[in-house]
Amino acid sequence: MDKKKQLELSRIANDIRIDVIEGVYNAGCGHPGGSLSMADVMAYLYFEELRIDPKNPKWEDRDRFVLSKGHTAPVLYAALAERGFFPKEDLKTLRKTTSYLQGHPDMKGTPGVDMTTGSLGLGFSAACGMALSGKINNKDYRVYTVLGDGESEEGQVWEAAMFAAHYKLDNLVAVLDWNGLQIDGPIAEVMNPTPHDEKFRAFGWHVISICAHDLEAIEAAFAEAKTVKGKPTVIIAKSVKGKGVSYMENACEWHGQAPKEDLYKVAIEDLEKIAESLK
């Protein structure tokens, strides 16, 4: 990845983080932590990886994206808005009664949302269904999904993992956001789902481990996934929950709450400082 592209994607990721904070702050609630942790991955997906057309969100041959950890809808909406699926100013309507930006993704109401999610585990299975349908109908689209590490405590995640390997869904890539925290505390204390790499390998997946904030590594991982035949790929992305906002980083309490005005200002200052450094 050349420096210019890296800088550009870093700026987009930072804009996405600002959008997340703006959206959650205006809503007065929502899930910033796990949105910020995936901002770099989402920037790469929506600006480099996915074969999509913002003017034709239902394009039949598009790549599909399923946010299986649907509670981090703010990062999906931010990526879609930055990519031009809908106006950025609408992000401020997040979670409002008259908004099409529901608390969790709604494929019927929001341009660019390929699957309704929010109940953990279900999106991963749906992504498998999309990938299987692509195989059945000889389509060359690829399917991408983002899972939470806490989400992997759901049994259905492993039912889906078994299914994807059994049907050799090499057109499916899952990114596992390994931020190490869930609502009740560190995943290792609540219900330890690790080691994910060994588990997925045992389930018949190709496993790639990266840092979720290293754009070069993200690029390399998605490129490697395309070369894998006969099995699905999981990218285990070690991330910092709340990445970019000083007081939210690795802080469990920012899984599912919005900052009040004073802390909102701190968050924006933090992210503007990063924006300055990317100029």
Partner: protein, 314 residues
């Protein structure tokens, strides 16, 4: 005497025949031999996908398939399709209103010897609560076949319920029969009471009407194969004309046909309604005829409840 055939047999036959005409895929969860999707699998192996014993995953996979425009049937026993995977049906299929046909076979008491864990008498109630869900419980093989095709052509999610036990194929003997989603079928007109039945209970409702006729009671018989959307117009007309209703279902009287009829008539034409069905209890192992007797799913019990409904008329 009409031929006897289980509605699940008709499901397998319908899939295999309609597979020649329509493009759809079929999912099952390791029960293909019992649910009869195996008949389709044999003919169209490239369009059949076993999901293993993982019903929740199967239902969400079906949703994902449907988002791509591919029609799909997801099949298991009623207990595990509607019961175990309820939340997946609600959130992955119902909420985004996707074109998935969820099929639950081996419903309720006529499962027989397998007993209570497998005798789901709550599936129609569960499915009925999901907004936009069409819920169908066909009476016999011919109606089941027609229901499969109607569900395939319907835009939106459907739940179809089929039985394990053979039932007389009365529909095959009706010359002017036409299956229409949401429209009840009038088998017999009456003036004293109307028996409203679906699924396995329809042929018993007709037997009950014969018992009542011998006593000089004129009983109408209506088959409500689509429990949602409910044919409120036909039910209201029956309530107005006969002033008393008996419902008969192989399902819990809570949340099923009896409940749906009461809900509708309480707003359009309140009349006495007696509900024959599983009375807020679990099933048990046994031979089907003995169980039907034990749970009051008989023509005699329908007739008895018809007399009670008539007695309640003001």
């Amino acid at each position: 005497m009409a031929d006897k055939k289980a509605t699940r047999e008709a499901y397998g036959a319908a899939l295999a025949t309609l597979g020649e005409k329509y493009d759809f895929v079929v999912l099952d969860a390791d029960l293909a031999a019992a649910t009869k999707t195996g008949v389709f699998k044999k003919k169209f192996p490239e369009r059949f996908f076993d999901c293993g014993i993982a019903e929740g995953n199967m239902v969400s996979v079906a949703a994902g398939i449907a988002t791509t425009g591919q029609k799909v049937f997801a099949t298991s026993f009623a207990m595990f399709a509607a019961g175990r995977a309820y939340e997946q049906i609600r959130n992955s299929i119902g909420y985004p209103h996707l074109n998935v046909n969820i099929v639950g076979t081996h419903a309720s008491i006529t499962v027989g010897e397998d007993g209570a864990t497998h005798q789901c008498s709550e599936d129609l109630a569960l499915m009925r609560t999901i907004p936009g869900m069409t819920v169908i419980s066909p009476a016999d093989a011919t109606e089941a076949y027609a229901a499969v095709e109607a569900a395939l052509l319907h835009d939106g999610p459907c739940y179809l319920r089929f039985g394990r036990f053979a039932v007389p194929d009365l529909t095959a003997e009706m010359s002017d029969y036409k299956f229409e989603l949401g429209k009840g079928v009038t088998y017999r007109e009456g003036s004293d009471v109307t028996i409203v039945a679906n699924g396995y209970m329809v042929h018993l409702a007709l037997e009950a009407a014969d018992i009542l006729k011998a006593e000089g009671i004129s009983a109408g018989v209506i088959n409500i194969h689509t429990i949602k959307p409910l044919d409120t117009e036909l039910l209201t007309k029956a309530a107005k004309e006969t002033g008393a209703i008996v419902t008969a279902e192989e399902h819990s009287v809570i949340g099923g046909l009896g409940a749906a009829v009461c809900e509708a008539l309480s707003e359009t034409c309140p009349v006495p309604v007696m509900r024959v069905g599983v009375q807020d209890t679990f099933g048990r192992s046994g031979k089907v005829p003995e169980l039907l007797e034990m749970y009051g799913l008989t023509a005699a019990n329908i007739a008895e409840n018809a007399r009670r409904a008539i007695a309640l008329k003001k």
